[in-house]
């Protein structure tokens, strides 16, 4: 099962080359520039919510309008931000990443075709 450690197959060089290419660096940085801040954002917002709900129930119980209090708004806010971020992520991926990634995919597969260890 294990891949022998002997002479590295040529396909490995292709992947290293693609990884260093400007086109790939651009796709990667677009992906990370969106995903990392957004993930940090929603995780902090979620943990702030959980910690506040468990440690400061008085704040959460403050009424806003009718039966609706801060806790209800915060909980529904979590649902809302989840839907919004889902929409923003797919939009970003579709407009800023998909086309470039697809081109890289064909180019890479073209380069690995026929090389040792490459995917046909």
């Amino acid at each position: 099962m294990e891949v022998p450690d002997a002479a590295p197959p040529a396909a490995a060089d292709v992947y290293l080359e693609v990884q260093r290419s400007a086109a790939f660096q651009e796709v990667r940085s677009r992906y990370r520039r969106f995903v990392l801040p957004a993930a940090a954002g929603f995780l902090s917002w979620y943990f702030a919510y959980v910690v506040t709900a468990t440690t400061a129930p008085d704040l959460m119980a403050r009424p806003v309008a009718g039966a609706v209090n801060v806790a209800m708004l915060a909980g529904l806010g979590q649902f809302l931000t989840t839907f919004l971020l889902t929409w923003a992520y797919t939009r970003h991926a579709r407009l800023r990443r998909d086309r470039a990634a697809l081109e890289l995919r064909w180019d890479t597969q073209e380069l690995t075709r026929g090389t040792k260890g490459g995917v046909a």
Binding site: E2, V18, L43, A61, A67, M72, F79, T82, L104, R105
Partner: protein
């Protein structure tokens, strides 16, 4: 519950079993053998179909009955669960779904093993995947047994045991004869039934209050016996600091665990591309989010219409809140409408459990055959076809799950689900994220990260109040409780990440740059994806 209720519920349930068996027969015909077919259903499902199937895998009876029940009993604190279960999908969408679709073939271990020494990594990740799946499976089996005892009024013991055995037998049949194709269609049918049932109940609740959510909430607070406190956090998790930390620990496990659940990850392989995987997660988020919003209405509706005291009297854990609500909405215990709605809810809950166990059994049989068997079998031994091994593994897992399900009959279902999430977040998520995002990650780091999360999670549970030292423990007579929390997540998840880092920096071997380049390029572009 009268005889009519039971007869009708059994009839509807038998109809569902008949439909699923028909699907299995149809999916299993003329499609013998190929691994692509068995594990990934041919990889040609559409994003919408897969989105419904993911939602079907995720919306277990624990959410349908359990979360609405918790809301009916504790008000706002029950809602905290649904928020965690939903937000978790952003982790899946952003960091996992597309990348896993691009680099893996059938299992989680495929992704990690692609850039590491294959054998130790496959054994580690395969072991933790099977552990997570079995825990989740036992939770569902226990839920099924409890449900039957509750809904069909069986006198506990015998009915419960036979249900666990029956559910186990059915899931083995679905998986070993129908593979991923049958499992996916069963999930889709179940999703539609569950969402349909939930929408119907939600509409009836809102009609009862003339569409006025404010009145619904006020009435729920009034009938709960807690007044306004019912609408704010604190009734369940607001006591001492131990229970607060326990909830924070659970919250952490819920949001990070989903992305490490093997049966969820394997769903991304049933669609042709990473883009389709992304779109199926978007479908799933929409369906799951809508479903949880509706369960909140059902939970408060049960408190308002049935009353918290009534719900607690029927089942202390609140699991019967929705069936009782259905009975009332249909016109009361003696009316035809009440009996029909009650039977429909019971049948939907059964369908939910059956579909979820099929999904998990498939994922764990894939881990056994594709990861563990492929790595552990003797080199010169006669190689059986992997799919044959997977079918046999499904039978083995079915037997183990039935046995454990019978043993764990009295454990709390929500606790078991929380535990499965905690183990997934501690053992599976760190290794997956490190493999996808960390250039210097090594084989030792991968192996340490899996065991460094898995072992503490299991040990802390063994030392927790769930197992010993309290009146509700598994072994109430003895006391070896040294860890105060029910859920180990807050300790074991960071340990999994730290162990992976420690293993990597102490590793004698240099990280393989070429393999990392391959993983990174493939994960982001889809080059060479199957």
């Amino acid at each position: 519950m009268t005889q009519d209720h039971r007869a009708l519920a059994l009839l509807l349930f038998s109809a569902f079993v008949a439909v699923t068996l028909a699907i299995t027969t149809w999916a299993g015909r003329n499609r013998r053998g190929s691994a692509e077919e068995f594990y990934a259903g041919g990889r040609l499902f559409s994003p919408m179909e897969n989105g419904f199937a993911i939602a079907g895998d995720y919306m277990s009876a624990a959410s349908f009955l359990g979360i609405s029940g918790l809301i009916a009993l504790y008000g706002y604190d029950g809602m905290l669960y649904s928020v965690g279960f939903l937000v978790a999908w952003l982790v899946v969408l952003f960091l996992v779904a597309e990348l896993v679709r691009n680099c893996g073939r059938f299992t989680l271990a495929d992704v990690v093993a692609a850039r590491m020494r294959e054998r130790p990594v496959r054994i580690a990740v395969g072991t933790s995947s099977v552990t997570v799946s079995v825990l989740y499976l036992v939770a569902q089996m226990v839920g099924a047994g409890t449900l039957v005892a509750l809904l069909l009024g069986g006198d506990g013991g015998a009915a419960q045991a036979w249900t666990v055995i029956g559910v186990g037998a059915l899931m083995v049949i679905y998986v070993s004869f129908g593979g991923m194709r049958a499992t996916t269609w069963i999930q889709i049918v179940k999703s539609v039934l569950l969402l349909g049932g939930t929408i119907a109940l939600k509409v009836l609740v809102l009609l009862r209050f003339h569409g006025d959510i404010d009145r619904l909430l006020l009435s729920a607070a009034g009938h709960s016996g807690h007044g306004q406190a019912f609408l704010a956090p604190g009734l369940r998790y607001g006591g001492d600091w131990t229970s607060r930390f326990d909830f924070i620990s659970l919250g952490l496990a819920l949001v990070l665990g989903t992305a490490g659940l093997p049966h969820i990850l394997s769903r991304f392989y049933t669609v042709p591309t990473a883009r389709a995987a992304r779109r199926s997660v978007v479908w799933a988020i929409g369906l799951i989010g809508g479903f949880y919003l509706m369960t909140i209405v059902l939970g408060f509706g049960a408190a308002a219409i049935v009353g918290t005291a009534e719900v607690r009297a029927s089942n202390a854990a609140g699991n019967t809140a929705v069936p009782l609500l259905a009975l009332d909405l249909g016109g009361g215990a003696d009316s035809t409408g009440g009996a029909v709605l009650f039977a429909v809810v019971a049948a939907v809950a059964f369908a939910t459990i059956l579909a979820v166990v099929a999904g998990i059994t498939l994922a764990s049989s894939a881990s056994v055959a594709h990861d563990l068997y492929a790595s552990l079998r003797r080199r010169r031994g006669k190689a059986r076809s992997e799919v044959t091994v997977a079918r046999l593994a499904a039978v083995g897992i079915g037997v183990v799950a039935i046995g454990l399900g019978l043993l764990a009959r009295d454990l709390n279902v929500a606790f078991l689900v929380g535990l499965a999430f905690a183990v997934a977040a501690s053992a599976n998520l760190p290794v997956l994220l490190y493999s996808l995002f960390w250039r210097d990650f090594t084989t030792r780091g991968a192996v340490w990260s899996v065991y460094g999360g898995l072992v503490p999670a299991m040990v802390l549970v063994a030392l927790s109040p769930v197992v010993s030292g309290g009146p509700q423990s598994l072994f109430p007579g003895v006391d070896f409780q040294y860890f105060p929390l029910d859920n180990p997540g807050i300790v074991s998840i960071p340990l999994g990440f730290v162990a992976g880092w420690l293993g990597t920096v102490t590793s004698p071997e240099a990280p393989d740059e070429a393999k990392h380049a391959e993983t990174e390029v493939r994960s982001l572009t889809g080059a060479g994806a199957v």
